[in-house]
């Protein structure tokens, strides 16, 4: 199953993203961003399992602001 970690600077956008991803059938895990880089302090991360391309498109279309994303190795 493909997996992408999206990062958010606000809990509001993280939850909106979580709900959107789950509506598309993906599983998710939301955490305080465990490894914040510069500019990401106090942010949240959302790991999306499955349908990641579709989910990313939905985030972009829904103007769900993420600060970045990582594809774990």
């Amino acid at each position: 199953m493909d997996k992408v970690i999206f990062k958010f600077n606000s809990i509001t956008y993280a939850i909106k993203a979580k709900n959107t991803a789950e509506r598309l059938g993906s599983k998710t895990r939301m955490l305080k961003n465990p490894n914040p880089k510069k500019g990401e302090g106090c942010g949240y991360s959302l790991t999306v399992f499955g349908n990641t391309d579709k989910v990313k498109d939905a985030f972009d279309a829904g103007k769900i602001k993420y600060t970045g994303y990582e594809i774990p190795k």
């Binding site: 600077n9 606000s10 809990i11 500019g39 949240y44």
Partner: protein, 378 residues
């Protein structure tokens, strides 16, 4: 107690609201948007759900729903957040002091000016009154959804359209009407909605909403910790964080969320229809009494919300309200913080007695109220 002061705050609250507030002290005990542990996340999810419910009711985006301590705070944020030195505002002649006083303060500080446009029975005259008050430096129009004293409903959608034609932001004061009158942010060209949480939305006192559209750049009234962008010394530039500094009123928001869900379930059209039925009955009964002065005609075809002001000839409004209070009836006398509306109707000295029912007002209570007014009037 027989309660007809829902225009001040609604009572009773739905049982689901009372329950939600009670349970929130156990279920949502952690600070949302700060910690990453389960109970903090649970609080944050509840708050996001509340935003989504409000967004659904007003056709807005959830992240643009901002929780405030009340409509006054929302209006202060909207007005002061848009004010720049040399700005000009246009307001209606039915506005509440929560609109007039911030503008008066800014005016006295030399920061802005404002004009008052007259609401008339004819929509196009009303819209023209606003249009002719616009100046090059007009930044916003502030208009009430419904007069909190006389129930008159200005043609807000048409006024908003005229404002937009001139590049002016439209702020809707929906304190009186949100929850039972139609408010559709995207359809009605509204840029900013300000409303109370504790009136037609059945939330606890100390709750309110500020809802902004995507194209509004609004300054802040307060700054502080938001749980986001914490390394930055500047306030975040994105809603809702930009406008929600400090720990939110989690328990109030839990109640407000339940109140909004109650409105969505019962349907605002049904609430309006019930309240109109009550007000029309009272209007019909009082209009046959020679000693009672009514200020609005419920059959003249001009849209009105279920708010009725009256006086008993030769009695100050406060005295009538006090006599009704002796019978256990709660109504409000006086000026209702809306001096412009009273000047318009010639009631600035006497004030008026205001009757505002709710979804929970029964026919028996209404009949009792009418009988008590009849006795006082005779």
């Amino acid at each position: 107690m027989i309660y007809f002061d829902n225009g001040a705050t609604s009572f009773p609250k739905p049982f689901s609201v009372v329950n939600a507030v009670n349970l929130s002290f156990c279920e949502f005990c952690a600070n949302p948007g700060r910690g990453g542990y389960k109970s903090a996340m649970k609080s944050a999810e509840m708050i996001y759900n509340a935003r989504e419910s409000a967004a659904r009711l007003f056709n807005a985006d959830a992240e643009n729903v901002i929780f405030t301590p009340g409509c006054t705070f929302s209006l202060n944020t909207a007005i002061k957040g848009l004010c720049r030195p040399g700005s000009h505002f246009v307001i209606s002649d039915l506005e509440h002091n929560s609109v007039i006083r911030p503008l008066e303060k800014l005016k006295k500080m030399g920061l802005c000016e404002y004009s008052v446009a007259e609401i008339t029975p004819d929509d196009s005259t009303t819209v023209n009154n606003f249009a002719s008050a616009f100046r090059k430096n007009t930044v916003a129009v502030v208009c009430t959804l419904s007069s909190n004293v006389f129930g008159i409903m200005p043609p807000v959608e048409k006024i908003a359209r005229e404002a937009h034609k001139n590049g002016i932001i439209f702020i809707l004061d929906a304190a009186q009407g949100a929850g039972y009158l139609p408010v559709n942010m995207k359809k009605d060209n509204t840029d900013i909605i300000c409303c109370a949480g504790h009136k037609g939305l059945f939330g606890p006192m100390g709750t309110g909403l500020l809802i902004i559209s995507n194209n509004v750049a609004l300054g802040t009234l307060t700054e502080g910790g938001t749980g986001s962008n914490s390394e930055s010394l500047s306030q975040p530039d994105f809603p809702p964080d930009r406008f929600e500094s400090g720990t939110p009123n989690v328990h109030g928001i839990a109640g407000l969320s339940a109140g909004i869900k109650f409105v969505l379930n019962v349907k605002r059209e049904n609430i309006l229809s019930h309240e109109n039925k009550i007000i029309n009955y009272i209007y019909d009964e009082l209009s046959s009494l020679g000693n009672v002065i009514l200020y609005t005609d419920f059959y003249d075809g001009i849209p009105k919300s279920p708010v009725l002001s009256f006086n008993i000839r030769s009695k100050p409004s406060e005295e009538t309200a006090a006599l009704l209070a002796e019978k256990g009836i709660c109504v409000r006398g006086g000026l209702h913080c809306a001096p412009l509306a009273h000047k318009k109707f010639g009631t600035i000295k006497s004030g008026t007695v205001r009757i505002t029912p709710s979804w929970f007002t029964s026919e028996d209570e209404t009949e009792f109220l009418v009988n008590c007014i009849k006795k006082i009037a005779n």
